[in-house]
Symmetry: C2
Subunit: 229 residues, 2 copies
DNA sequence: TCAAAAGTGTTCTTATTACACCCATGG
DNA sequence: CCATGGGTGTAATAAGAACACTTTTGA
């Protein structure tokens, strides 16, 4: 084999950290591996990238095969390429994270997965490959992202309460926030529309429902902001 | 060729955006390509990654072959993998940026380069491959980084003036800063040590020289901060 | 009537901004 | 003596942090 050929004895994959929010906790969608290596272990959903496929397309494909979802929020984090990260050969992987509304998710066992299920982010067991490290890096990037631009629209149902929004921020940032200060700040951005509707069927005073102002949401995504809480 | 084999008909490379600061402007070290494709065009220094080489090691190697420098600041940004980004085949590249003191740099024509030289970041001509896009992304990441942790130590000589430090921030962030407010803020961090030395040989009132407090610098790098200017 | 979460303002402290003049040196 | 950049403080404004009680509903 010529030297040049040896450069082409490697493959690349994408791995996707799919975040969801169930109303109180930030979750990640993991699969149980159906084949060696690491058969039976929990892992991030991922696949090899086809030779004529863009990286982002591959990440979208993995997501769609697993969840049936298209057009969701997806962002590349970085590449992981330690020589021995894959036991069967040199495989570098490009990590993405995506944000999905858990209610839109309908389980679809994909070719690369036997079982997919939601897991709480914190205190996770050991995952296959270097996936703990990948997950950790994606979480860090999400935590940075949430301070620069709004992401609630991607993770919350169309109508939500301020407490749900606050819990979303708290579970992403792993911190507690002051209720009054949070409301003051988020409402002062004019990002939310009061729907003049109430929660129903809860065993306490019902909360007002809000939705995002789409125009303003887009502006914030594009121009960014600093959201110190 | 089997389907599995076709996954291994691809290669990966690293490309390195090497930033330097000449005392007034932020610069990037570019090479003139000595071989096709894009022969004669300016490009980021980069190389294929050896089959048994870690990505970061490859980025360090490119940097050292070009500049002779080891142990400098180096950070991965992301992967670029559009199907047609390389005219000769499927090559995805992992982009890094590094920060060097321009005075430490001694030109070393590497195998992959005929000429290397510093260029101002803004208003660059068209580069080979997708290198304009890569450079732009690396600059964005540097701009974010500089708000989270100090980077002056990597780019400035051991002794520097407050005005030099301010010009560094201004050229990275592409903005103008108020002199008094900048000094107030940076000095209040206790990050700088007054050396009780002065500039000499300048045709104006000589400036005080400072150096970084190594311990405190390390703390800030690890714990981060929010540096809004 | 109890439990549970919703909703609501003010004060204090801290950080940010805007702004203009005199000083020390080399040529 | 002139040109050049170095060095300094204050007042006004804005943002952030801390904090406790009343309301509404279902069980």
């Amino acid at each position: 084999m010529s030297e040049v050929d040896s450069f082409f004895k490697s493959a690349f994959s994408v791995d996707n950290v799919i975040f969801g929010f169930d109303g109180s906790d930030l979750k990640v969608l993991l699969i149980q591996r159906g084949a060696p290596p690491f058969k039976g272990k929990l892992a991030l959903p991922g696949d090899l990238v086809y030779p004529n496929e863009n990286l982002e397309t591959a990440a979208e494909r993995v997501l769609e095969q697993l969840t049936g979802l298209r057009g969701v929020y997806l962002e590349q984090v970085k590449a992981f390429g330690a020589v021995n990260r894959h036991p069967l050969g040199r495989v570098i992987t490009i990590a993405y994270y995506s944000l999905v509304k858990t209610k839109d998710y309908t389980p679809m066992p994909a070719s690369f997965a036997q079982v997919a299920s939601w897991h709480t982010i914190h205190h996770l067991e050991e995952l296959a490959f270097d996936h703990n490290q990948i997950l950790h890096n994606c979480l860090l990037q999400l935590q940075q992202r949430v301070r620069m631009a709004p992401i609630g629209f991607e993770l919350l149902p169309p109508k939500f309460t301020l407490t749900e929004l606050q819990q979303l921020y708290e579970s992403i940032l792993e911190t507690e926030l002051d209720k009054r200060n949070f409301r003051k700040k988020i409402l002062s951005m004019n990002l939310l529309e009061d729907l003049n509707e109430m929660q129903a069927g809860v065993a306490h005073r019902p909360a007002k429902l809000y939705q995002f102002d789409q125009e303003r949401y887009k502006q914030f995504v594009e121009r960014g902001y600093s959201f110190d809480l």
